[in-house]
Amino acid sequence: MADKPADLVQGSLYMPILTTLAPEPMHGYGIAVRLEQMRKGVFQLNAGSLFVAFQRLQRAGLIRSEWKATENSRRAKYYVPRDQGRNRLNTETREWGGQAAAIARILEAS
């Protein structure tokens, strides 16, 4: 297993994908590149984990997909967040912020 350094735990991909999609719909490769940029290129995303995550998010009703033309006029499947997905992202972000603040306070106090 050691030879797959940056293989991600499934759960940890969902929120980053939602965050990536928040400004505008993107296709799979676009999302992969954006995620890699966000993580400062430490790793390359495995297509399998990525597409499993897409499928799960779709089935959970958080995103949907549509075929559209790309900037260099090819056809690609674009992922679009649903309202439910946006709401989830907001709550999770808020909760995470709260937790981070709490931890920071504990660290300062000690």
């Binding site: 296709h27 597409f51 499947k77």
Partner: protein
């Protein structure tokens, strides 16, 4: 919402596989192509870019597989594949499949049949509205430590004191002679409160319940009749309402007709009349306890709350009526307990036993599977070599075993339906609520659930073992796979089978010995050649006490004149018919403070010849005689038990025994004790018996005595010859008299054993089935081992072993398994048969750890084990050393 979406998406990709696959293909291709293009923009050659992308992102095919298998529908698909493969495998091994399916069908079938009985009798709710709130209420006699019926006065007081019930109703047993319309017939009936049906929450088919005015003394004579009687006597016409029927010579108006199939308790009743109209003597006498009470708990009131409240009410009644009620409390039980009774423990016992049979069947099939999987070792190795994970192989094997068990279950269900009909045809009478037993939806679910569970049970262990293949040796040419482990496991299974079989055999053996002992037991009377029946006396004869006395005299005289009759008598109870006439009494003048605290005796009102006719032996003094009449002093005969308990070491003859409300009796004789309850089983109270003359009974009791009086006739002639003669004699005495409940005493004795006979028959059949399965199990293992060891046996013979030695070696191998099973089985039996004791007094004359029974069932098992080893041992003897060695 998201679950629905996931289902819909999954179904779409299951049924529109092509399209979904294509979309994924296209998308993934795009994805990888974009990655390649990006690399090429950085000046990498396409060939190298493709390679790099494959390394970094994963190849197209692998990714597709990963994405697809992340979904639930891929599991469904894999199962479907496994299933198709399993069907192919079983069809290729149809002999094995047939044996396994048959074995499982027997096990599952027996379980399904017993479960449907348990379901119908114990689990199904009672057919009344909200049956969980229905309770029965009893008096609790602290001295007898037993719940008893109550007096009608008690009921009236309870009702008055606002108990914790929404509704309550009294009911009492009563039979009637119906003389019009149609032929005279004796019918079972009940006296009920006006609220009886509404307490149960049951609707009438026609008409109405009794009104409160009708449910009291002096009310108009009315009745509610059963649906069957309505069809019989009124042709099912709605004009029956308002018509009259003649009951015991009294015209009563029919005001209601019950739903078809309505019954309360285990036996049918055709006629219901208001209990409030009973004679004032009976209605006001607090010492006559002949009324039962059913009630519906108020919503939200628990059983224990209600019990406490009722006890408080009864305490108050005790205080107001100290001379009859002191020492009485109240007791509340769920209605189901009354209606199901003793059957509960017996049925659970049988369910346990039949579960054991299923375990044995599972062990057999597991053993077969093990033997077969040894032969499939190469197949599994190849699968493993091609990349099948261990889980995947286990899943394939478990799919095969579940397929087997479900097929077995389907066949078993058919067997259960057939077997159930057979069981019900012979044993329905021994079971309460037997008309409620069907193969219904819950039985189907049970069978399906058991089948699947069983498939896992016997499939997992062999599958687990088979999946642990060591690739190297079993792929090599001529490899034999890992048979040593298989063999140990198979031997273990056989030992378990034998142990379980022994437990079942021991249980059946103990019941068998019980019935044997019961047949041999001394009943205290001679049951052979005795005929019993009841007579509904002519209504014209029962108007006065003198009339009844004369009618019985005349009736008995006529019967005694019939050629072949050696004796005839009457009594208010005959043994083993569950009739109780429990009378409080005291000796000399030792009257207790309250009648409820007085000891009780089983009172028999008889004619002078009853005791001789039954051949109950006289121990001291004399029998009741014809000279003891209404005009002479009261005399009684007591049994040896009463004499021993209340006159220890003294002569009871000449002493006085007092029955309250009846009088002081001089004891003139002591007779032998009679087994009045089931053979060998004592009621927790009332072992004492006493006999008084019917010709000394006061008039006020005489007029209703015929409904509970039995005639006994001793004759060596057959019933079929005797009964018509007797009917003839009864009709000649008065043409409107009916003869009913005719039975021989031997039949009654035999019927009284049904609580043992019913489980014996079933447990016996289960034990035989277990024995058969276990012997197949031993045979299978030994036979398989002989095949595996042919080579070794060949070498032994080549080295000079005699055929005898080989034969012995094989038999000893089988017997050592059998002995190991016996040791475990006997230990388990010693623990488990104690259940028989603690359960429902099933055993008589034999201890739970009876050594004779254990020894004989062990002998049977050893015998069967030797038989099962015989064939393979003979085969081993015939092994030709040359042939066996040449294989190498």
């Amino acid at each position: 919402m998201s679950l629905l979406r996931s289902m819909a998406d999954g179904l779409r990709s299951l049924f529109r596989k092509e399209q979904v696959g294509q979309e994924l293909d296209e998308e993934l291709n795009d994805f990888l192509e974009m990655a390649v293009e990006e690399k090429m923009k950085r000046g990498i050659r396409r060939k190298d870019a493709l390679r790099a992308v494959r390394l970094e992102r994963g190849s197209l095919e692998v990714t597709k597989e990963v994405v697809r298998s992340a979904n639930w529908e891929s599991q469904v698909e894999a199962c479907w594949q496994d299933l198709r493969f399993a069907v192919r495998v079983l069809r290729k091994n149809s002999g094995f499949a047939a044996v396994a399916i048959l074995t499982l069908a027997l096990g599952i079938g027996a379980n399904t049949a017993i479960f449907s009985v348990v379901q119908g009798v114990l689990l199904a709710p009672l057919p009344y509205r909200e049956p969980d709130r229905l309770v029965t209420v009893w008096l609790n006699n602290f001295r007898l430590k037993s719940p008893t019926d109550l007096s009608y006065r008690d009921f009236i007081d309870w009702e008055h004191d606002a108990p914790p019930f929404e509704k309550m109703s009294a009911y009492a047993w009563r039979s009637f002679d119906l003389s019009s319309p149609g032929n005279p017939e004796h019918l079972e009936g009940r006296e009920i409160s006006a609220t009886f049906l509404s307490t149960l929450g049951v609707e009438l088919a026609l008409g109405r319940e009794f009104s409160a005015e009708e449910d009291r003394n002096g009310g108009a004579p009315v009745s509610i009749i059963s649906n069957g009687l309505w069809r019989d006597r009124f042709g099912g016409s709605t004009t029956a309402l308002g018509k009259s029927i003649v009951l015991d010579g009294v015209e009563t108006t029919v005001v209601g007709v019950l739903q078809p199939g309505f019954r309360f308790g285990t036996d049918y009743a055709d006629i219901y009349i208001p209990i409030g109209q009973r004679k004032l003597v009976d209605a006001n006498d607090r010492t006559v306890h002949d009324v039962a009470c059913i009630a519906r708990l108020k919503r939200g009131v628990s059983l224990s709350q209600a019990d406490a409240q009722m006890n408080a009410i009864q305490e108050n009644i005790d205080r107001l009526n100290p001379d009859t009620e002191q020492g009485l409390g109240a007791k509340i039980l769920p209605a189901k307990e009354l209606l199901v009774g003793d059957a509960r423990s017996t049925l659970l016992l049988l369910l346990g036993a039949v579960g054991v049979v299923l375990l044995i069947a599972c062990a057999n099939v597991a053993s077969l599977l093990l033997a077969r999987s040894a032969g499939r070792a190469r197949e599994f190795s190849i699968r493993a070599a091609l990349g099948a994970g261990r889980g995947r192989i286990v899943r394939q094997l478990v799919t095969e075993s579940v397929l087997l068990s479900v097929l077995g279950g389907v066949l078993g269900l058919a067997a259960a339906k057939w077997g159930l009909n057979a069981v019900l045809a012979t044993l329905a009478a021994d079971l309460p609520r037997s008309d409620n037993i069907h193969v219904n939806a819950s039985v189907l679910f049970f069978a399906l659930g058991v089948s699947i569970a069983v498939g896992f049970l016997f499939g997992l262990a062999p599958a687990h073992r088979s999946s642990r293949v060591d690739l190297q040796p079993s792929l090599q040419e001529g490899g034999r796979g890992s048979t040593g482990g298989h063999h140990r496991m198979q031997s273990g299974l056989v030992i378990v089978q034998i142990a379980l079989t022994l437990v079942l055999l021991a249980g059946a053996g103990l019941l068998f010995r019980t019935i044997q002992h019961m047949w041999k037991a001394d009943l205290g009377f001679e049951s052979r050649h005795v005929l019993t029946f009841q007579v509904g006396l002519s209504p014209s004869a029962t108007k006065t006490g003198a009339g009844v006395r004369a009618a019985y005299q005349q009736l008995l005289d006529r019967i005694r004149q019939i050629p072949g009759v050696q004796g005839a008598g009457i009594a208010t109870e005959v043994p083993m018919t569950h009739q109780i006439n429990s009378i409080p009494f005291w000796v000399d003048s030792h009257r207790p403070a309250s009648v409820a605290e007085a000891p009780r005796t089983l009172g028999f009102i008889t004619d002078p010849e009853f005791l001789q006719t039954m051949r109950i032996p006289l121990i001291r003094g004399r029998f009741i005689s014809q000279q003891d009449t209404i005009n002479s002093s009261l005399v009684a005969v007591i049994d040896s038990e009463l004499a021993r308990t209340y006159f220890p070491g003294k002569d009871p003859i000449g002493r006085t025994i007092t029955f309250p409300q009846v009088g002081d009796y001089r004891i003139v004789g002591v007779v032998g004790h009679v087994q009045h309850w089931q053979v060998g089983f004592s009621s927790p109270f009332m072992q004492n018996q006493s006999y008084v003359s019917i010709y000394q009974v006061q008039d006020r009791w005489m007029t209703t005595i015929d409904t509970w009086t039995w005639v006994v006739v001793r004759t060596p002639l057959d019933v079929s010859i005797m009964l018509p003669e007797i009917r003839e004699a009864v009709y000649r005495a008065a043409s409107d008299q009916t003869v009913y409940h005719a039975q021989t005493m031997a039949e009654i004795v035999s019927e009284s054993m049904s609580p043992q006979r019913f489980p014996l028959i079933l447990l016996g059949s289960f034990a035989s089935l277990a024995l058969l399965l276990a012997s197949i199990g031993i045979y299978g293992v030994i036979s398989y081992s002989v095949t595996q060891r042919a080579h070794e046996i060949g070498i032994r013979m080549a080295l000079g072993a005699e055929k005898r030695d080989v034969f012995r070696m094989v038999v000893v191998q089988g017997l050592s398994l059998a002995f190991a099973g016996l040791v475990i089985g006997v230990t388990a039996a010693l623990v488990l048969t104690r259940l028989l004791l603690s359960f429902s007094h099933l055993l008589y004359g034999v201890g739970a750890s009876d050594p004779a029974t254990l020894a004989s069932v062990s002998a049977v098992l050893i015998g069967v084990a030797i038989l099962a080893c015989y064939l393979p041992a003979r085969r081993a003897m015939r092994v030709d050393p040359m042939v066996a060695l040449r294989y190498e």
